[in-house]
């Protein structure tokens, strides 16, 4: 015999206790520290900071620990925390030209001022499982060189010097913030880039890939990818000058794409731009390809591919929104389902009551 269900509250508490237990796992295994996550799962921390829109390695490490390694859950935790922080304003634009370079490569020039700096990368490794890592082992100290100050002008700037690529359009100083104003369409490039920077790496990766396979092809070259630390400054109204807030590590990708031109304009390469927190090259490159795809209309190109559709891309890039709405299907829908059942039973009853020789009953109903 059914009685009205009671005890939801206790069931939830018990579920939380089970979660805490599963998170900790075998008590004989030492517990993870935030330092371990920050240092040894650093790229995970980078991704969580980037898509979580909050640059704080310790909080991101905490989120990863709390989320049991579920990255989207960790991003969600960081975003929810971010909501509670006051917003003082926007920083001065960072100058990636002054970056303390840890890695910088160009696929368009064999050599260039500053040179190719490979830095810490998986790129040239053979993806063979290293069983040596299963045990603790000493890691030799790598060879490094002091940064070559000022020698790292961006490839896009070098091309711009000779008029071969479009000039970066100067902004009017005002930048939008889609966490403070709801996104509306058409969205300016500042808001599009903000959306992409927060967007899900997997989603952007797939969209970027689709442009390479012909759905909105934009002939990209990786003009330059650089990763390193830049200083962030904030213009303090009271002081009347910009004060340094600290350094952030970022990855910047400048894609060089096929030229555009018109009767009055000489043909020039065009730009796609990606910028992301930490060492997040896949994300930054995908972002640059999608940024360029979203400029199709502005550049007078044929549109129609998914990656060129701003409303489609920007409305579905946020994995916190996406996971929430997909997973909300787990919530009860008894009431609506009951309504559907009612209608379905009625339609079935009418179907079975229909004279099988005649096919007119539904037609009649329509008239």
């Amino acid at each position: 015999m059914y009685v009205a269900v009671k005890g939801g509250e206790r069931a939830i508490e018990n579920a939380h206790a089970l979660l805490a237990d599963a998170r900790r796992g075998d008590r004989n295994v030492p517990e993870l520290t935030l330092d371990q996550i920050d240092n040894q799962l650093a790229l995970g921390v980078d991704r969580v900071m980037c898509e979580g829109s909050l640059y704080d390695r310790e909080l991101a490490a905490l989120a990863i620990k709390q989320a049991r390694g579920d990255m989207i859950e960790a991003i969600f935790l960081l975003r929810a925390y971010r909501t509670t922080l006051p917003r003082f304003g926007a920083s001065e634009p960072i100058e990636t030209g002054d970056m303390d370079i840890r890695r910088r490569i160009s696929a368009t020039f064999k050599d260039l001022p500053g040179g190719q700096v490979l830095g810490p990368t998986f790129d040239y490794t053979h993806r063979l499982l290293d069983h040596g890592l299963a045990e603790e082992a000493d890691v030799p100290t790598p060879v490094t060189a002091p940064a070559d100050a000022g020698a790292f002008r961006s490839v896009a700037d070098l091309l711009a010097d000779s008029g071969l690529i479009e000039r970066a359009q100067p902004g009017n100083g005002e930048v939008g913030d889609l966490t403070r104003e709801p996104l509306s369409f058409p969205a300016g490039r500042d808001l599009r880039l903000q959306n992409l920077a927060r967007g899900d790496e997997g989603f952007l990766l797939a969209l970027a890939y689709s442009t390479q396979r012909g759905f909105g092809r934009n002939h990209p070259f990786a003009g330059e990818i650089r990763y390193g630390e830049v200083e962030v400054e904030f213009f303090a109204e009271d002081a009347g000058f910009a004060v340094p807030l600290g350094g952030v590590a970022v990855t910047e990708c400048q894609m060089v794409n096929q030229f555009t031109g018109s009767a009055t304009e000489a043909p020039r390469f065009t730009r796609g731009y990606g910028l992301s927190f930490g060492q997040t090259e896949r994300k930054s490159m995908a972002m640059a390809l999608v940024d360029r795809a979203l400029r199709a209309e502005e550049l007078g190109e044929e549109t129609g591919a998914p990656a060129q559709d701003a409303e489609f891309v920007l409305s579905h890039s946020d994995n916190v929104q996406a996971t929430g709405f997909v997973e909300h299907l787990k919530l009860p829908h008894y009431v609506d389902f009951q309504s559907e059942l009612g209608l379905l039973r009625k339609l079935q009853a009418e179907f079975y009551a229909r004279d099988p020789q005649s096919d007119t009953s539904l037609q009649d109903a329509a008239e």
Partner: protein, 293 residues
Amino acid sequence: MTAPVYNFAYLDEQTKRMIRRAILKAIAIPGYQVPFASREMPMPYGWGTGGVQVTASILGPNDVLKVIDQGSDDTTNAVSIRKFFTKTANVRTTTATVDASVIQTRHRFPETALTEDQVLVYQVPIPEPLRFLEPRETETRRMHALSEYGLMHVKLYEDIARHGHIATTYAYPVQVDNRYVMDPSPIPKFDNPKLANCAALQLFGAGREKRIYAIPPYTRVKSLDFEDHPFEPYRHDAACELCGAGDSYLDEVITDDRGNRMFVCSDTDYCETRRGMGFGPRAAPDAVKPAHD
């Protein structure tokens, strides 16, 4: 690392003011979807973040809060949201509809009539009634601006042509104050008539989609229909098998694996109150038989 201290009802006062401005605008233009800068909340999008932000913005320390999901106070998400406000705002909570000053709901309008002292806050997944006819926001906003609702009527007509009935059973579109077509959120259409001329203020919050809309008290709300196919609220033709109510919306509960089921009130407070008053099952309820065996 120190634990953060959260403001009353979680949101900071600046954010609350921004949401209150959106609410005021929504009340001034009944049924119009007001964009607002929805924040990331500590519960997932799609799980009531819009309703939670609206509630957080209107809640005062003397309010008494009731939270229901599917009409029940004890469903997991209702429990979770109620606990959230107990924790962050320390407000009194209740399960009794008559004792609540703010009721946050998902998918139901309570059976008990609301009063002028109450506010009903709906959680809304997709605020745009035209969304499944036209996926682009740029288009649907234009259609609303021009009151271009022909597409919706065509959809309802096609339902009739295909099924003999309008096949929308929940989130059934309404027209508010003879102007905006509005999604009443996924309540069963059984609840639609209660939205009209309601004494309480009704607020709708869609967090993921960043929209707030409202029906002020005593406003005309009409479910879309045709003269020859008038709107019909649906309820299963049975009485609640716990309290005997013949006028409440019913949940169907499967009681064994032989196709037996029973029908009980979806509004648990309504059902409990009736049972407290001495109502019980009507004489020997027949087990409902499966449809075609």
